[in-house]
């Protein structure tokens, strides 16, 4: 936590470790007692906290992936005899070999498709103001709800992109994410200045997406995806450092658990969005 270039905890009011007392415990604002090993520079409690953040995040990703796969399997079929019919009696064919089943036709037609499309947005927005006061179990439920809903939305990706390119991009995103998060965790540089930069970038990307709805240039989609991926790559490193800071600045010991879940949600969303833009860039579309 040498965010200010000082050794040890660079946060407010915490004494640096002295060489004379290598096992100096530091009293946190929470009144807790932190163990740290000056010989290796590793703070055990911070480490345990960050491990729990990553565990929760990975659990969210696994949930999203499983739900997406499951929904894809029950909504899409390669067998025309299982496919659903439109009102005019034609089969609902999405690609050369993929048909929608009855369930799929239900899922991707209004009004259910609106719930699929806007469900994640609704849950994220409605719960955003609550996070400060949430207990750990409520936070976990909300996080899992978001992960499941995004899984349902993402099941449609398999209709647009080939399965192998989705898998490829997932692993590419995971590798990129790991590197960036590690950078955010270990760097001595203070990344808080990136906040406004990334925020502006996000605005600009949204603006570009809207402009491109009018003019519809495929090349611009490409540009938007490049910048979108860069912005969320930046957010990954930035959020990792911010989560670390928030843990050190917490006031009570019992804030750690909800903080771990909200931090995991942040990183999860960074991952998902980075994946989405990378897939738009490098994914192979089905015919």
């Amino acid at each position: 936590m040498a965010a200010n270039g000082k050794p040890g905890f660079g946060t407010r009011g915490v004494p640096p470790i002295s060489a004379a007392n290598p096992y100096l415990g530091v009293t946190t604002p929470a009144g807790g007692y932190r163990h740290y090993d000056a010989a290796t520079g590793i703070d055990e409690s911070l480490r345990a906290f960050m491990v729990s953040v990553y565990n929760i995040m990975v659990l969210g990703l696994i949930t999203t992936g499983s739900v997406a796969y499951l929904v894809y399997v029950i909504t899409v079929t390669g067998d025309p005899s299982l496919a659903a019919y439109r009102d005019d009696g034609t089969l609902i064919q999405m690609t050369e070999t993929e048909y929608l089943t009855e369930l799929g036709a239900f899922l991707w037609a209004a009004p259910v498709s609106y719930a699929v499309c806007f469900g994640p947005l609704l849950v994220l927005v409605l719960t955003a103001p609550m996070w400060r006061n949430l207990g750990p179990s409520a936070a976990a439920i909300i996080f899992m709800t978001v992960a499941v809903l995004i899984g349902v939305s993402f099941s449609g990706l398999a209709l647009t992109y080939t399965n192998s390119s989705i898998a490829q991009m997932f692993f590419a995103t995971a590798a990129g994410f790991g590197g960036l998060s590690l950078y955010g965790y270990t760097t001595g540089k203070d990344l808080s200045g990136w906040g406004s930069f990334l925020w502006m970038g996000l605005f600009a990307v949204i603006g570009a997406i809207i402009i491109n709805i009018f003019i519809g240039v495929p090349a611009m989609d490409f540009a938007i995806s490049v910048i979108g991926a860069v912005v969320f790559a930046g957010f990954t490193a930035y959020d990792t450092q911010m989560i670390k800071e928030a843990y050190s600045n917490r006031f009570r010991e019992d804030e750690a658990r909800p903080l771990a879940i909200s931090g995991a949600l942040d990183l999860y969303l960074d991952f998902i969005n980075m994946f989405r833009f990378l897939l738009a860039l490098f994914g192979t579309e089905e015919d």
Binding site: L122, P129, L202, A223
Partner: protein, 247 residues
């Protein structure tokens, strides 16, 4: 969550909000922000209109228009504004105030080139009408953000999640290709940027600090103007999808 993103600013600014008496320094700072933003919008408008006039005659692209919108130069036109936004927010603390201001004008001009394409899609009359509707709602929202005693910092995480949710929703529409859903996405976009207008106004107000020197104050005003400018443009673009008449 985005809560974390606001952590520092909440700690740093929480104490000052109670003071609502009229403060001359704050007032002149805010007027400066609005002037910069309005001038930026004026430059964008003029540049967009002039470009559209030059690029199209009788419904056909002129040579100039072809160069701008179909040659590889279109990449520059499309990406330069984004580049400027990144450049300005990354370098602002190392630039002099006049340099930052010039960058902002250049950005506004380039934005005009990019936005010229909307004149090719929508009738001039509907663009002007949408502009005034945007201006009126922007003014009201910003005024509310300026005068309200409510703490809007909580709205920040709300709006951030809204933006993330919009990106996820737009993904679903990639394969659904439903125009009704596009319409719903625009409606939510309007709400998000309306909220951001009020939120940003209060955040810009909170950034003001009496003891700042001229250079620091100038930079804050330019960054504030850029934020409000982007809110305005995004609000305008989302509204145009409802109110614009296609040519």
């Amino acid at each position: 969550m985005a809560d974390l993103r606001n952590y520092q600013s909440r700690v740093a600014t929480g104490a000052t909000r109670a003071d609502t008496s009229i403060d001359e320094g704050l007032r002149s700072y805010m007027i400066r922000v609005y002037n910069l933003m309005a001038l930026g919008l004026a430059i964008t408008g003029v540049a967009a209109f002039a470009t559209a006039q030059m690029a199209v005659t009788n419904g056909q692209l002129t040579q100039f228009g072809a160069v701008l919108f179909t040659s590889p130069l279109r990449w520059v036109v499309m990406l330069a504004p984004l580049g400027f936004v990144f450049f300005l927010s990354a370098r602002i603390n190392k630039m002099s105030v006049p340099a930052a201001q010039t960058t902002f004008w250049a950005f506004a001009g380039l934005m005009g080139l990019s936005l010229a394409s909307i004149f090719l899609v929508y009738t001039g009359e509907s663009i002007v009408r949408t502009f005034f509707i945007t201006a009126a709602s922007f003014g009201a929202l910003s005024l509310w953000g300026y005068t309200t005693k409510r703490d809007l910092t909580g709205m920040g995480s709300f709006m951030f999640m809204g933006l993330i949710g919009l990106i996820i929703a737009s993904l679903v529409n990639i394969f659904l290709q439903s125009s009704a859903m596009q319409f719903a996405i625009s409606a939510i976009g309007v709400l998000v940027f309306a909220g951001l207008t009020a939120y940003d106004t209060q955040a810009i107000k909170e950034m003001y600090y009496e003891g700042d020197g001229e250079a620091v104050m100038g930079r804050k005003a330019i960054m504030g103007a850029l934020r409000l400018y982007l809110d305005f443009i995004n609000l305008f673009l989302f509204l145009l999808q409802f109110l614009g008449n296609r040519e």
